[in-house]
């Protein structure tokens, strides 16, 4: 049986383009800041808020800038989400839980193992207990945090993607943004703007999952991790339903094949407003597996039909999740002039399905370390020390091998994960070795799947994506890939960016919703003109 090893067709990270000396030709405006934060997500904004507040208390005035590639705050943020409010409480000790941007408290939860038509209720694994946590939309959280940051005088620049790291020897000096208004061939147009250089004493990379500059920095500075980072792809829909749902649901099993890791989530933001999605580890083996199509099948399960009948899908989105956990963290997340936060560093705990509070907590620690650095010259490695001594490292260490055990398949993985839970992570000791997702061979099964439910074209429309059609392609694919590989990409991408045609691979770049799935397994993603991509509202 034919096999595809995705890494064989993946272009190398274009390091020579991503790391450039400060002062390199080609920039328009230049702006000097004290601290530059790349990415207005929970990590970046928590960092900005903590830093601005500490500086103010200290009587210092810091010029803090946050760059965000989405056109408006929150529009590229997507999560389940059930939120552990711990980091919120630490960042806002004077705000009551009910004043945080959360929707409902989790009061009931169910975990099911699904077969095509049946369901078996499972006891909720201890790592997955969510009672007293909050169901929330990450878009709404980000908008709320952004407003708090702006109240503190932080400059939030939306619509400006960071495209290149500016460096002086081994020090990160800032970033260069992506140009805007290029024509399809990549030439500047009269209305467009040249890239801007933003330089700062410290740059915090909080780009989110599969952060481009965070990856580039680790490669450039030879910062290894014990295991390669691995990813999952989550595809999510928001439904206004006629039926009400009073609890959080997670499912395992169908429609995933047994050699894939993942499951579904169903969270009611309101009794009639339901977030649902499917998350699948990108180390799956079937080259025809398509997470978006699987989600469409999942909605036909009797468990879901009941809730969705008569309802309407109002929003759609997709995003990857760094799943490697403890052993995939870069050995250090701080260097000269730079720190790595949140998803960009890999602070996600898969067994509890949580990342938002780790992201925010890492931002809080980064804010503290950066202030010490600016004030006393304390090295930024203080940030690593704070993280390593915190519950972020402790939680991730306790579950260090759980996700990794599932490389052996669903049942064997589940059994091992159960024993790990019982022994607080001590069973079986040691470290499970992992391959990078792109190194896992795929088998060509290509059984034709009948498309049903939401097409990828409709999905992209429901993501709010209205990227200019005349934009140059921001995706770097290998030349002349075979039809089999092109079809594999077409299944990996939930947004219909890749099409296998008679003439080979066709790339519909404006469709891209920046989920980064094919960046993990195939063509590389690079930032494009600010404001491109999805416009999530309540994802």
């Amino acid at each position: 049986m034919a096999e595809i090893v995705p890494a064989q067709y993946q272009p190398a990270l274009p390091l020579e383009k991503l790391i450039i000396p400060d002062g390199a030709a080609g920039a328009g405006d230049r702006m000097e800041l004290d601290v530059l934060i790349v990415g207005a997500g929970p990590a970046g904004l928590a960092c900005a808020i903590e830093l601005a507040r500490l500086a103010k208390a200290d009587g210092a005035e810091l010029n803090i800038g946050v760059l965000e590639k989405a056109e408006a705050l929150g529009e590229h943020s997507l999560s389940g989400a059930v939120v552990n409010p711990r980091a919120f409480r630490e960042l806002f000790p004077d705000v009551k839980d009910e004043d945080f941007p959360f929707r409902q408290t989790v009061t009931r939860e169910s975990v099911y193992l699904l077969t095509q038509r049946g369901k078996f209720r499972l006891p909720t694994p201890p790592t997955m207990h969510n009672r007293s946590f909050y169901i929330a939309s990450l878009c709404e959280i980000v908008r709320w945090l952004g407003a708090k940051a702006e109240e503190l005088g932080v400059n939030v620049f939306t619509g400006f993607p960071a495209a290149q790291l500016l460096t002086r020897e081994s020090t990160v000096a800032g970033v260069r943004t992506a140009p805007a208004g290029l024509d399809r061939q990549g030439n500047p147009t009269p209305g467009g703007t040249a890239p801007n250089d933003l330089v700062a004493k410290v740059t915090a990379l909080a780009e989110g999952t599969r952060g481009l500059l965070a990856q580039a920095w680790c490669q450039w500075q030879h910062v290894p991790s014990e295991n390669p980072q691995i990813f999952a792809l989550g595809v999510k829909e928001l439904w206004e339903t006629k039926q009400t749902l009073d609890r959080v649901i997670h499912t395992l099993g169908w429609p995933l094949p047994k050699d894939a890791f993942g499951g579904s989530f169903v969270y009611p933001l309101e009794p009639n407003l339901i977030a649902l999605g499917l998350v699948v580890g990108l180390d799956y083996r079937d080259a025809a597996l398509d997470v978006h199509v699987l989600l469409q099948q999942f909605k036909h399960h009797p468990l879901m039909r009941e809730f969705l009948a008569g309802g309407e899908m109002v929003e759609w989105g997709a995003k990857t999740i760094p799943e490697g956990g403890f052993y995939s963290l870069p050995q250090r997340r701080a260097g000269d002039g730079v720190v790595l936060l949140g998803d960009a560093a890999g602070f996600v705990d898969v067994p509890s399905l949580k990342g938002i509070h780790y992201a925010m907590q890492s931002g809080i620690y980064a804010g503290r370390a950066i202030l010490q650095n600016l004030k006393n010259g304390t090295k930024l490695t203080e940030y690593d020390r704070l993280v390593n001594a915190s519950y972020i490292a402790r939680d991730l260490y306790r579950t260090r091998n759980m996700r990794l055990a599932f490389r052996d398949g669903f049942y064997l993985g589940g059994l091992q994960a159960g024993l790990m839970t019982l022994t607080g992570g001590r069973f079986p000791g040691g470290k499970y070795e992992m391959h990078a997702d792109a190194d896992v061979p795929r088998t060509l099964r290509f059984a034709p799947t009948r498309p049903s439910g939401v097409s990828k074209v409709d999905a992209v429309f429901k993501s709010g994506n209205s990227t200019r059609d005349s934009i140059p392609s921001h995706l770097i694919a290998a030349q002349d890939v075979s039809g089999d590989v092109a079809r594999f990409y077409s299944h990996v991408c939930p947004a219909g960016v890749y099409e296998a045609t008679e003439n080979g691979l066709r790339i519909n770049a404006p469709n891209c919703v920046d989920c980064k799935a094919t960046d993990v397994l195939g063509p590389r993603w690079t930032p494009r003109e600010g404001g491109s991509g999805p416009r999530y509202k309540r994802m």
């Binding site: 702006m31 400059n155 620049f157 619509g159 805007a180 467009g192 703007t193 933003l198 209205s466 509202k537």
Partner: protein, 250 residues
């Protein structure tokens, strides 16, 4: 060149509009608001005129709620010099009342040009600009898609059915801007920083109630589901018959 630009805060065109519980207004929860796209042409044109003249002022006026300060900041980030928010809880349904408030404010100063977008994409009324011109007793050209100005004289082009209308006018004048007049600039980082420090006056105003009242809002009727008539050449006859007899489009 002294130019006033009147702008409006409107729901983003991508917004899924929901009617509020009262049945006559929009549910604003979760709605993203933007600078009216036609007003962007007006701001851009004002900036270019000022840049060409090498001197002058571009002042932005907005009738709207407190949140419209953001909309004004967007215009300031593009390059406008100062902003005035004519602050109301609710924009009146009657365009004449909006026009009266704006005209009263604009009257206190003299302008070479007063620019509006051709229409706001929320109510599609296409009225406030021309009403303001009438109230200020100034010449007005609406839906301008090309503009030349020489000294105190202007020539504007309007796209009309089947052709282009060319209009001469003296300055000062009120113009409303249409698509095609220019390509609005992308906001620059420096502009965004500078906008935070530019003056923005907030003046509470009390528009009259006017003679119009919104009785009810209803969404357009849902589109009927499509139908597959058949496949291949054999279905053409039936399709033509249905188009002629049922859809009555042939």
């Amino acid at each position: 060149m002294k130019i006033a630009v009147c702008i409006k805060r409107v729901p983003d065109s991508e917004t899924r509009v929901k009617i509020a519980a009262d049945g006559k207004s929009l549910d604003e929860a979760g709605v993203k608001f933007v600078l009216n796209p036609y007003d962007e042409f007006a701001v851009e044109e004002a900036l270019r005129r000022k840049e060409q003249a090498g001197a002058g002022e571009v002042a932005v006026f907005c009738l709207g709620p407190a949140a419209a300060q953001e909309t004004i900041r967007t215009a300031l980030a593009m390059g406008a010099d100062r902003g005035v928010l004519l602050s109301v809880d609710k924009i009146p349904a009657d365009p004449l009342e909006s026009a009266k408030v704006l005209a009263a404010e604009l009257k206190s100063s003299s302008w070479d040009l007063i620019l509006f977008g051709r229409m706001a994409i929320d109510d599609y009324n296409t009225q406030v600009g021309t009403l303001v011109a009438e109230l200020l007793d100034l010449p007005c050209v609406s839906a301008v898609s090309h503009l030349d100005i020489e000294g105190a004289k202007g020539v504007a082009e309007r796209e009309i059915e089947g052709g282009i209308e060319v209009v001469d006018f003296p300055l000062p004048a009120v113009l409303t801007t249409d698509k095609g007049l220019n390509e609005p600039r992308y906001p620059a980082l420096k502009g965004i920083m500078a906008a935070k420090k530019k003056p923005l006056d907030i003046k509470p105003v009390q528009p009259g109630t006017g003679t119009l009242e919104i009785a009810a809002l209803t969404p357009p009727p849902a589109r009927k589901e499509g139908r597959i008539v058949g496949e291949g050449a054999g279905a053409v006859g039936e399709l033509v018959r249905l188009l002629r007899e049922e859809a009555k489009v042939l």
